[in-house]
Symmetry: C2
Subunit: 351 residues, 2 copies
DNA sequence: AAGATCAATGCAATCGATTGCATGATTTTC
DNA sequence: GAAAATCATGCAATCGATTGCATTGATCTT
C-alpha cells in the first residue's frame, strides 16, 4: 500500500501509458485522433491510476467551468425545491455541476455577476422574479453576453430566454371549472403584483369572469403574497364578509390551504360551504384535507427544460439570435376542495 | 466605450497600478506585507478595472476550490430544502460556494468522491443517510482524509463528524406529552429502519412506554417510510383495527398528516377521536387542519452548524483529532392535533 | 562608516490540462 | 519510385494566481 498517494494527474497517466500528456488528453476528448493501440494503453493507465481530470485546471485553460448557477428566491420554498431537484438531475446528466446562490447582500445582481467574472459558473438560471435581469446583464459586461434563462411566473423582459407557464389560460381554466360546477359568485386571492403590473393570474381571473358575464366585485379580490399566513388573513377577511362568494380561486396552493384552515375555525366547511381551487399542485395539496383541486404546474419540466435550454445555449447548439421562449401548460387536477355550488344543488333538489 | 473587453486579470490590475502581479496578489491576500502607498494604488486599480479573482486559477494553484458539496436524498423534500437554505446562507457568508449533488447512477459514493478528485469541492455535507460513508472514505483516497460532516438522523459511524438531533429524548418527550394528556393507549408510525437497526425514534417510543408502564402492542406500531402515502396507509390500518389506540406518535410530520387525512375519510376526527403528534415541524404543520402538535427540529440550525463545522475543518481551525459531534435538541410544539384523551375527559365529567 | 538587518517589491516557477504547430512515419498517387 | 498526402504523436506555450527566493534601497548597530 502506498503511503501518501496524491490524486493522479494527467502526467501520471502519461507516464503509465508511456505517451505524452497531450496524447492522454486527446484520448479523453477526441479519441478518433489517436490510434487504437495507444487508446487502449491510455485507457488502461487511466483505470490503473484512477485518474480524474482536474476541473480547476481544465476550467482555467478552457475558460469555462462546466457549472451553472441557480438563483432562487428561497430554497426552503417547496415549489422551488422541486424545480431545483430537476435542475440538478438534468445538469448532472449533462456533465454540469450546479451551484446554488441565495439572495445575499444589498446588490444581488452584482453578487451573481461575480460568479461569472470569477469563472465559477458559465450560465445562470434565474428562478427569482425579483432579480433585476437588466442590471444583471449590464454588470455582466459590456462585451460579453451573460448566458441566462429565467423561469418564473410573471413574464419578464421579453429579451431574455425564458421558460414559463401559461398563467393566463390556466387562470381562465380554473375559473371555468368553478363556473361549470355552478358557481356564479367567485372570489380571488391574488399574488403580489410586480412593478405595478397586476399578476397574470389575476388578469386571467378577471378575463374569465368577464367572459362568463359574471360580476367582478373588488371586495372579493383579496391581496396575498403567496404565503400561508396571507391565505389565512384572506380567510379571516372572507369570514367577516356579510355577502360571500361561493367559490375562491387562489393564486397558489399555499394561500389556498391557509385560507381553508382559517375559515374552518369559523365553522365553515370546504367544500360544503364554499369551493376553493389553488394553483401549483405542491406536494401537500393532494394529502390536505380536503384534497385540493388545483392547476398543476409542471415543475419538474420547468426545471428540466430551463436547464436544457441553458446548456444548449452554453454549448452553442442554439444559433438563433432571438431569445428562446418556452411556454408550458398547466393541468387542471380535480380533487375534493371544489364541489357543485350550494344553490346549484338546491336547484337540483327542487326540480 | 471599449469594443471587446474581456474580464480583467491580475496582470491588468498590475499594469494599471504599475506594480508586478505578485504585489497585487499580496495586497489582496496579505496586505500587511505591502506599503501603504502601493496598497492604495492597487486598490484604486482594482476599482478601475473591476477586477475579480479568477477562481479557476486560484483553485488550481491553491489546490482548493472554496466550494462545498451538499448531498441530499431529495431536494424536493421540504425538510431538506430548509436545511439547504441555511447551508447556502452560511457558506456564502464564509466565502464558499455550494454545489448540490443529487443521487445519480449506481455508485453514488464514487460519484461524490469524484468531486474531490476533480478538485471541484473541498468538503462534503451529507444529509443523505443512505450513503455509505465508509465506502466514501475509502474511495476518497488512502492517504487523504475527505473532510465531511454528516447531518441526518440515525446516528452514523461514530468515527465521522456529525450534527444530529436528540431523537431518543425527543421521542420520549413526545410520548410524555401524550401521557400527560391522559392517553394510555399509544401507537406509533415508525420510519424505515436502517441496516436492521430500529430507528431511534422507535427506540425512544418503546423506552417511554416502558418507563410509563404502558403496554407495548406490536400491532399498534405501524411501519412507514417517511412519506405521506405511507402515513395514509397507516391510517387505513388504524381504521381497520377493532381495538384502537387513542393517540399516535408519528416519526415525522408528513406521515402524521397522511395519517390524519386518511382517517378523516373514515369519519374519525383528530383531535376529538384520537390525538396525533408528529416530528420535524415542517412548514405545513402549523397551517394544517388541525394544526399539528410536533417535535420541532431546528433545521436551520442543523444546516448552519453543519456548514460551520465543515468550513472550520477545512480551514484547519479544528485541531482535535477526534470527530466533532454536535447534538441539537428538539422542542415540543403543542398545537391542535393533541387533546386530552376521551376517557380522561369523561373522568373529569363524572367527578 | 562599514556591515548587518529589514522592509518592499520583482522574478520566475508552479498548479494541471489543452491545443497549434512541428516532426517523423506511413500510405497514396501518378 | 519519388513527391505528396495522411496519420499519430510530441513539444511547448498558454490559461491566471500564488509564493519562495532574490534584489534593492533604506535604516540600524556599534
Amino acid at each position: 500500500m502506498d503511503t501518501v498517494r496524491k490524486t493522479p494527474t494527467i502526467q501520471d497517466v502519461a507516464r503509465h501509458a508511456k505517451v505524452s500528456a497531450a496524447t492522454v488528453s486527446r484520448v479523453l476528448s477526441t479519441p478518433e485522433k489517436v490510434s487504437e493501440a495507444t487508446r487502449e494503453r491510455v485507457h488502461a493507465a487511466v483505470q490503473e491510476t484512477g485518474y480524474t481530470v482536474n476541473q480547476a485546471a481544465r476550467s482555467l485553460r478552457m475558460q469555462k467551468a462546466k457549472t451553472i448557477l441557480a438563483a432562487m428566491p428561497g430554497i426552503g420554498n417547496p415549489f422551488y425545491s422541486t424545480i431545483l431537484d430537476a435542475v440538478v438531475n438534468e445538469a448532472t446528466r449533462r456533465g454540469y455541476g450546479v451551484l446554488v446562490a441565495s439572495r445575499l447582500g444589498d446588490d444581488p445582481a452584482a453578487w451573481l455577476a461575480d460568479y461569472f467574472h470569477s469563472n465559477r459558473a458559465d450560465g445562470l438560471l434565474v428562478f427569482d422574479g425579483s432579480l433585476d435581469t437588466r442590471r444583471l446583464h449590464s454588470i455582466a459586461g459590456e462585451g460579453a453576453v451573460l448566458p441566462l434563462v429565467a423561469a418564473y411566473d410573471e413574464l419578464p423582459d421579453p429579451q431574455i430566454n425564458s421558460v414559463i407557464t401559461d398563467n393566463l389560460q390556466a387562470a381562465e381554466r380554473a375559473v371555468a371549472h368553478l363556473y361549470d360546477l355552478g358557481h356564479r359568485r367567485i372570489g380571488h386571492i391574488a399574488g403580489p403584483s410586480r412593478n405595478t403590473f397586476p399578476s397574470e393570474r389575476l388578469v386571467g381571473f378577471r378575463k374569465a369572469l368577464f367572459d362568463h358575464h359574471l360580476e367582478i366585485r373588488p371586495e372579493w379580490i383579496m391581496q396575498g403574497d403567496y404565503t400561508m399566513p396571507s391565505g389565512q388573513a384572506a380567510g379571516e377577511a372572507f369570514a367577516a364578509m356579510k355577502d360571500r362568494p361561493t367559490a375562491i380561486f387562489s393564486a397558489n396552493d399555499e394561500m389556498a390551504i391557509g385560507f381553508i384552515s382559517a375559515i374552518r375555525r369559523h365553522g365553515l366547511d370546504c367544500p360544503k360551504d364554499f369551493s376553493v381551487i389553488g394553483f401549483d399542485d405542491i406536494a401537500i395539496s393532494q394529502n390536505y384535507a380536503p384534497a385540493l383541486t388545483t392547476m398543476r404546474q409542471p415543475r419538474e419540466l420547468i426545471g428540466k427544460i430551463a436547464t436544457q435550454t441553458l446548456i444548449n445555449l452554453l454549448e452553442g447548439n442554439v444559433r438563433s439570435s432571438s431569445p428562446v421562449r418556452v411556454v408550458l401548460s398547466s393541468e387542471l387536477v380535480v380533487r375534493e376542495s371544489t364541489a357543485p355550488s350550494a344553490p346549484a344543488i338546491r336547484a337540483v333538489g327542487r326540480h
